[in-house]
Point group: C2
Chain length 434, copies 2
């Protein structure tokens, strides 16, 4: 067993935290990190120790990026009101953001959190279709409100999953259902979608929408073929339903080849939702959808969000788009992401624990197994490695149905040098006997 010690000072902080914020408020790592500063891909703790951040996607263009800080400061000291006055900041930002999507995704609604964005998308679909049935993937997570948490099997609400919800198995390129691989992964997924539609109809419910992360991030980001969604979305549209892409994780160029995750699959959604990286940590989220859907939603729902789309949020969002473009961060994600995967495959040859290497751009990982033939998930071992990496100054996490996938999703300026440090540390930790 490892002998990780929590410092006296951190024990005191944890006790104070429990008193003020309540017990059971989750912390990362057996030995939690007390952070005091961030810069680019680096985080610093209260003892001045430096950590390579291989986990946080919220500081998308890097922790405390000066261009984003400057934009927030400038706008916060100029004007920050709500959207019931005319304001050009929101229009300039909306125009630029919409420009990164395909037709007919042409109209924006702004909010503050990914949960709020998914709330809007669900209500938009409900208004447009008059139907309530929803299809989501097992092991997905779309947010924390009453309505949205009814869709999650990994953090199911105390109230239980809604009876209007059908969950289907995610594609799994490593342990494929009925051994179906490659192109057949898509047919198997489409089949599950069709079955879910039938199941809703058997209960007298019509389909409103499928809500899916097009990268299947929380489901373990399986390798799926191009055009993966085509057949599934055909079933959805034939049933009168809409395709909502939750771009909170793959969006803003993270996967390297595309600005938005859906673009990997050749089907344009009806509604896209986005959040976390949008304001580099400033609470900003949004929905970009077909104009007719937004118009109907605005008319029926009379949605207003006090902070949503305020001038400071839009200035932060605009600055994030500036940096992605000026620093070539999407291209960086592609190049460094390819390099990391290639080097992870090298580690795989050396360490039997690595069963599979997956991901795209700067969202990548390794699935750990106790046995490469049986593919028995190595959940406990994965936990040990995540904690050992933290002790060695590299922050990452784990995910997947068995919590056996090392999840790495660093700020976008992550360089080849950073990748080398991550990989040599991982090599060390994998070489240590447990």
């Amino acid at each position: 067993m490892s002998t990780i010690e929590i410092s006296m000072r951190n024990r005191a902080l944890i006790a104070r935290r429990e008193r003020l914020l309540g017990p059971g408020n989750p912390l990362f790592y057996d030995n939690p990190v007390h952070l005091v500063r961030g810069e680019g891909v680096w985080l610093y703790d209260a003892d001045g120790r430096r950590y390579l951040d291989c986990y946080n996607n919220v500081p998308h263009v890097g922790h405390c990026h000066p261009h984003v800080v400057e934009a927030i400061t400038r706008q916060a000291s100029t004007l920050n009101t709500h959207t019931r006055y005319l304001d050009e900041t929101i229009l300039d930002y909306a125009e630029r953001l919409i420009g990164t999507f395909d037709d007919p995704l042409s109209t924006a609604v702004f909010a503050c959190t990914g949960s709020e964005a998914n709330e809007i998308a669900l209500r938009m679909a409900h208004v447009a279709t008059g139907a309530s049935g929803l299809i989501v993937t097992n092991h997905a997570y779309h947010g924390n409100t009453t309505a949205v948490s009814q869709l999650s099997t990994i953090m199911p609400p105390v109230e239980g999953l809604g009876r209007h919800v059908r969950t289907i198995p995610p594609p799994d390129s490593y342990r494929p259902l009925r051994g179906l691989k490659g192109e057949k992964l898509a047919s198997a997924y489409a089949y599950e979608v069709a079955r879910a539609i039938d199941s809703l109809e058997a209960d007298g419910l019509k389909l409103s929408a499928i809500l899916v992360c097009p990268f299947f991030a929380n489901e373990g980001f399986p390798d799926v073929p191009p055009d993966f969604m085509t057949q599934a979305i055909e079933h959805v549209r034939n049933a009168g339903g809409l395709y909502i892409a939750d771009e909170v994780q793959p969006g803003f160029g993270r996967t390297g080849n595309h600005m938005w995750g859906y673009m990997a699959h050749g089907v344009v959604p009806d509604i896209c939702t986005m959040g976390k990286p949008m304001g580099n940590g400033h609470p900003l989220s949004g929905v970009v959808a077909r104009q007719d859907l937004v118009a109907e939603f605005r008319e029926q729902v009379k949605y207003f969000n006090t902070f949503g789309g305020n001038a400071v949020s839009c200035a932060a969002g605009m600055a994030v788009l500036d940096v992605i473009e000026e620093e070539g961060l999407m291209e960086n994600a592609r190049v460094v992401g390819d390099y990391v995967k290639q080097r992870l495959r090298g580690l795989q040859e050396k360490h039997d624990l690595i069963g599979d290497v997956r991901g795209r751009g700067l969202f990548f990982g390794a699935e750990l197994v106790l046995d490469r033939v049986t593919k028995e998930p190595a959940g406990e071992e994965t936990k040990r490695i995540v904690n050992a990496m933290r002790e060695k100054g590299v922050l990452l996490s784990r995910i997947g149905p068995h919590d056996s996938i090392l999840k790495m999703r660093p700020p976008m300026p992550f360089s080849q040098d950073n990748a080398d440090q991550l990989l040599s540390t991982l090599d060390d930790v994998l070489s240590d006997a447990p």
Copy 2:
């Protein structure tokens, strides 16, 4: 009829806004204002024209207050991560915020919007009581999510009010139900609460909570006696329900005598929610509740909010508390609020249209009537005055069941001079023939 002209430039902006954000996105005033700068109680439009802001409560300590901007800038350039790392900013802020409440309100949960805060409160009550029945007041508004919008009769969701919801008439000091005034307003309200509990029970539903703005802001901020809530909350607690105070509007000292609206009534809630003014425009909201309720919620719901309680939000929140204290804003609200009401009563003697003058601290208004005996609401006239005030450089709005109450709720540094400008402009506008 008035002959208000919208400039060519603003017409172009409105058309661009419809294209990018969809049609039907609400704007204030027949002639919308295109704002470009704010400072203290002042807003400036694109033509350099200055407006006295008598409406916005979000910029609580004044538009673009330098102390808040400095705090946001400092923290945004230092560190901004989520709450799964140890961080002292959130603890210092939580401690200071909790210190402004009465026992046993001792534990905080942070989120980004008032809607999210009310979502948390409702789920907290549900987990604690195991019951789903909710009591709210007619004409209240508590937020825009699916679950929270089910509680509003002024913006009812397309899905309809929930069958677990009972709405009761708000107290009305100007047109009292059955002529009950003063102390009897409280008995009448308590009676309605008791009836709502009976009605839920008749449907086999147990009471989870009453959710109420203790200032009844959207209901028209009636004058209610001290101890107004005592009997009503006795009924709620006897039925096993909780008292949730929505402090989004009266909180942070706005009403002058108290930091929180509930304090006017001598009953301590089980849960308080807060939002708009909390970060002076930075998206920050929160819940302060009994420790046992937060603990049960954390255990059952596993709530996590990516941006909620991040370091920049907490720095903004702390700066707002600094300014309220250092600039004596609660005392200012009391003194200037008393002065305004006294001067409004003076105007009432001169203008028959003013049927009633109400409010507390810097949340005040005048109810306009066509006839002081019949008290017929002057909704159209109120609309004309709101628009005429805007043309004369004073921003305010209207509210209430008949949209016949002038609603004034300025930034907290609102001075006696500002009040004089507001009142002399209002005198002019009231003197103009329609």
